[in-house]
């Protein structure tokens, strides 16, 4: 809004009031998680202020230094699993979606483009409950069950369509001139795509990869179903095992949640600047 529109004097304090209220709303549950994680003992009493009674790092220690049945350092194993699977999901999604999104952005009229886009959009409306079972039968046929690669493929099924829409929008905003210049300069269309379009789309690629990474990093239902050994678990799976119906170790769960959240939050904030542009240009439209 224009700099000349400063508005009446009470607008500034009011703005801060609204923002502070929103921040309180946004932070309150997070503070609860933090206080739970730091709390040594749990009490069946309600409190409004998220402050630990007897602060200790025991919960963190328990999560970080847990050992598996054969003495392996579980946290490091599970961290590695999570990183490998999430990164592979992000790479797969980007790898598959990028050329397709480019084709949709650059040759929007090719035969099948419209139908394909519509079909892809439609898949997003189909609840996953119904396709999960056949998907597993399929992976079984491919002999990819219970493997990291299998899990990556499962995650890719949701990450790829999203990435295609996201990147199509991004490529549409990159001037055609750039690749034409490259082609006149001696590049094939593919070279132009690789050497010029992709680097120019880096912010959007980063945001899209972040979303794919986050979705895999945070997923636990499929992963829990899928992986059977403690040393094969991803972090969220290991984490939610602390919360049973009868033996909820909320403190450990909270400590684990924080450990799981910190890396994605760091990534998220690192890419924050790209977020606005990446999303608006993405304009997930039909």
């Amino acid at each position: 809004m224009s700099a000349s529109r400063k508005g009446p004097a009470w607008l500034e304090p009011l703005s801060h009031l609204v923002l502070l209220a929103a921040v309180a709303f946004a932070l309150y549950p997070v503070l609860w998680v933090v206080s739970l994680a730091l709390d040594g003992v749990q009490r069946p009493v309600a409190r409004a202020i998220p402050w630990p009674d007897s602060p200790s790092l025991d919960n963190f220690r328990a999560i970080l230094f847990a050992r598996g049945s054969s003495g392996e350092w579980l946290f490091v194993r599970q961290l590695t699993n999570s990183i490998v699977i999430s990164a592979a999901t992000a790479l797969t999604a980007i790898g598959i979606a990028t050329p397709a999104a480019y084709a949709l952005a650059r040759f929007p009229d090719f035969v099948g483009a419209k139908g394909g886009t519509k079909a892809l959009l439609a898949t997003q409306m189909f609840p996953g409950v119904a396709s999960a079972v056949p998907l597993y039968m399929l992976l079984d046929k491919l002999r990819l069950l219970d493997t990291r690669s299998g899990l990556v493929l499962v995650y890719a099924t949701t990450a790829v369509p999203f990435a295609i829409f996201q990147l199509r929008g991004a490529f549409e905003t990159i001037p055609k001139d750039l690749e034409e210049a490259a082609m006149v300069d001696g590049a094939t269309r593919f070279q132009a795509f690789i050497k010029v379009v992709l680097p120019a789309a880096r912010p959007a690629l980063a945001v899209t990869a972040l979303f794919a990474f986050m979705s895999a990093w945070n997923e636990f239902i499929l992963a829990a179903t899928f992986l059977s050994r403690e040393s094969a678990f991803t972090l969220p799976v290991a984490l939610q095992r602390h919360v049973g119906e009868f033996d909820a170790a909320w403190g450990k769960f909270a400590a684990g949640s924080i450990i799981v959240s910190v890396p994605v939050m760091a990534l998220f904030y690192a890419l924050q600047k790209n977020l606005v542009g990446g999303l608006t240009s993405g304009g997930v439209k039909g």
Binding site: R5, L19, V23, A26, A46, A100, A103, L104, P134, F190
Partner: protein
């Protein structure tokens, strides 16, 4: 249900696991090629039980040179499904440990074989086999015994000796008088704490009053009639007299006991491990229902060593099963694994006989009732749980609640639609394929089409691989899933029934169309849910974005960073955190209300508050996305428009109304329609926060479909029909939305 079954972790995992895992495993096991003298054992143990089990197996190996036992600890949730998938394919174990109540299901799938030979090898004592009779009875089916019983599990009473200073065990009446006196208890403490709203716990009382949850003889649901009503009245009285605290769930029993706020609790063996030495306590048999009356009688589950069919080393497996029940192994399992072993002779040994906890659990088990093994037993839990919850929440409605439970059971166990010939479907599909083929041939002849295809070739170079992968991984499973909707069956045995599933859903199975739990009611809730969320997401997002875009705002960067936190934190973490905050006893929400002088609210007891809790959680999760999108859209609005408007004398409100809003629309519309689809299918929040409470009233279509697929005996066909209907509703809805907004845009110009 097995006592360990109660430990299913986040409900989310458990059921999905059961269903999906039917196909897993194979690779891991296939890799472990079976050598001649190798035997594979699967078990669900963790912690101390696992340590004990491993020690037993090492002892077995020690006695038999050349034999090696390979073990796989399978998380409970995935266990049955994994077995059912692996054993028929020859990838399964030779021997596995599981609860006795799965015998009929395993027999039906032919994955276990008779264990008479192994049982015959178990040593005999003067009065028969060296195994508890109750346990032997549990493994009986069709006149044969399947599996060697290893240990017993059931509920017992934990007594805090620091609070209950008298000798002997308390009865419900004595606990009630303590509650009435209120003097001998610290503030905030209760005479008895247990998971009152759960059918597994409640059935102990029910049995004490002569009732039962399920009649194994008739194979019928039995939570009705005078005994059921009396049992509910009894618990209602306990609540009213403050003998037990309101709304305790399974997980909050432990903190009550640990912090000295429960004189007694009813719980299972797992509590021992969690208590450590936090309190001085002892374990006793469950109290009598009333003075002079019968004792409460818990369900007993027997853990059994099953001999798998298709075993690679059946002889060795039988040998190991016998060994597991031997006194030598039982001693280890009891002392290290803290199990109530079914081997009788070890109980006469001093070490075990003098172990107060184990001995008490053994007494409790012998006073208990073996869990029925009928297949429909599993269908009884959900209706019974809901009936109990409703009756405890609203004593006036006890009778209605019980009747409703009956109806829910009938609904879930209703006979499957009749099998039909798939011929009409095949014919239709064939005709469709022909028509399609004909059309494509025709099109291929059209020169203009051919030219267009030719022009498209460069594009195909970029999309082909994505098309193949998406078709294979996304579209194919989806089409297969949709096809499942024409089939019906339980536990994965499917038969073609045509449109019967759809017909059942659309006609509400003959009941009233807007009764609770019908498609239409749930659809209504879903639409309400979507509208409420979107309205809040967009209005909060836009307001914050506008404030954050004010040119001279201080601390803008900090606000922005803090306000997108909800987006960055994994949603299941925060969903669970919010669920905790809405807890009646321990939740922060009620603490805030209390600070404001408002009575605490049972958030999940009525629709309005449960729905509100869901919406608050999802609003928290969703507003940052809209905010960020709006910030981007605002930045793209040219500044001179505002200047021009200002020169024209527009007030700030008019500027917002006539410049900001119309110019935000093109960017916000796609985000809103995508958000609508996401919210419509938002599974995590509903499932984790309210879980459909009360009585499934806050269930939305996706979670309802999920329940049919995974908690009502895996009725995939029915669930798939739900999914297809959801898809239809969404496609229609988005079309409609598009029409409406397009019309508006046109009119606005």
């Amino acid at each position: 249900m097995n006592a360990r079954a109660l430990r299913w972790t986040l409900a989310a995992r458990a059921r999905l696991a059961l269903a999906l895992l039917s196909w897993l495993v194979l690779i891991v096991c296939a890799g472990e090629a079976q050598a001649q003298r190798t035997i594979t054992v699967w078990h669900p143990y963790r912690g101390a039980e696992q340590r004990a089990f491993d020690q037993v197996l090492r002892a077995f190996e020690r006695d038999r040179p050349g034999v090696s036992v390979q073990t796989l600890a399978v998380p409970f949730d995935a266990y049955a499904a994994k077995l059912e998938a692996a054993i028929p394919r020859g990838n399964g174990p030779d021997l596995f440990v599981d609860a006795h109540e799965r015998i009929p299901s395993y027999l039906a799938r032919r994955i276990i074989v008779s264990a008479e030979s192994a049982i015959a090898a178990v040593p005999r004592t003067s009065d028969g086999l060296d195994l508890e009779p109750i346990a032997l009875e549990a493994v009986q089916a069709n006149g044969e015994r399947y599996g060697v019983p290893l240990s017993l599990k059931c509920l017992a009473l934990f007594v805090d000796e620091e609070l209950w200073e008298r000798a002997g065990r308390p009865s419900l009446d004595s606990l009630a008088s303590i509650a009435a006196a209120r003097t001998s208890l610290p503030t905030g403490a209760y005479p008895l704490v247990y998971y009152a709203s759960n059918a597994y716990f409640h059935s102990a009382i029910l049995h004490g009053l002569g009732g039962q949850l399920f009649d194994p003889q008739r194979g019928a649901y039995a939570f009705e009639g005078p005994a059921a009503l009396e049992s509910l009245a009894l618990v209602q009285r306990l609540l009213a007299d403050r003998v037990i605290p309101p709304e305790v769930d399974g997980a909050s029993v432990t903190p009550y006991f640990r912090s000295g706020r429960a004189m007694t609790v009813i719980s299972g063996p797992w509590l021992v491990g969690e208590l450590g030495d936090a309190r001085r306590y002892r374990v006793a048999v469950l109290p009598r229902v009333r003075e002079g009356g019968r004792a409460m009688s818990p369900f007993v589950t027997v853990e059994v060593a099953f001999l798998a069919s298709n075993a690679h080393a059946p002889g060795l497996a039988a040998e190991l099963a016998t060994f597991l029940a031997s006194p030598e192994a039982a001693r280890l399992r009891a002392s290290v694994g803290r199990q109530v072993v079914a081997t009788r002779s070890v109980w006469s040994e001093a070490e075990l006989a003098n172990d107060p906890v184990l001995a008490a659990f053994r007494r409790a088990a012998n006073a208990g009732r073996v869990m029925p093994t009928h297949n429909n037993m599993r269908l009884s839990w959900e209706p019974a749980n809901q009936a109990i919850r409703r009756a405890l929440r609203d004593p006036q409605a006890t009778r209605v609640a019980v009747e409703q439970g009956r109806r829910r059971y009938d609904d879930a166990s209703r006979p499957l639609p009749a099998k039909r010939s798939a011929l009409p479907l095949q014919l239709t599909l064939g005709a469709l394929a022909l028509a399609l083929a004909f059309r494509s041939v025709q099109r291929a002849r059209d020169p203009e089409f051919r030219a267009a295809v030719k022009r498209s070739v460069p594009a195909y170079a970029y999309v082909t691989h994505a098309v193949v992968i998406v078709a294979l991984l996304v579209v194919l499973p989806l089409v297969l899933g949709a096809t499942t909707s024409l089939y019906a069956g339980r536990d994965g045995a499917l038969e073609y029934v045509g449109g019967a599933n759809y017909w059942d859903i659309i006609t509400a199975r003959g009941g009233s169309l807007f009764a609770s739990g019908t498609f239409y009611t749930v659809l209504l809730v879903t639409v309400l849910w979507t509208i409420a969320n979107l309205t809040l997401h967009v209005s909060i997002g836009v307001v914050l974005a506008i404030i954050l875009s004010r040119p001279l705002l201080k601390l803008r960067a900090i606000y922005r960073v803090l306000l997108i936190i909800p987006w960055a934190v994994p949603s299941y973490v925060t969903a669970l955190a919010w669920k905790g905050m809405f807890h009646r006893q321990t939740g922060a929400m009620n603490a805030i209300l209390a600070a404001l002088g408002v009575e605490p609210i049972s958030w999940f007891a009525q629709f309005s508050t449960a729905f509100t809790a869901n919406v608050v959680t999802n609003t928290w999760l969703g507003f940052p996305f809209m905010m960020v999108v709006t910030i981007g859209a605002l930045a793209a609005i040219p500044k001179d428009l505002y200047e021009a408007a200002e020169v024209d004398g527009a007030t700030p409100w008019q500027q917002f109304r006539h410049i900001t809003l119309p110019l935000l629309r093109p960017t916000l519309l796609p985000a809103v329609s995508m958000g609508a689809v996401w919210t419509f299918n938002q599974f995590n929040v509903i499932f984790l926060v309210s879980g459909g409470e009360p009585d499934g009233a806050t269930e939305i279509l996706v979670t309802e479909a999920y329940r049919w697929a995974f908690t009502r005996q895996a009725q995939y066909g029915y669930a798939a029909a739900y999914a297809v209907l959801i898809f239809g509703v969404l496609v229609l809805g988005t079309r409609l939305l598009e029409r409406l907004t397009l019309g508006k845009q046109g009119g606005g110009k």
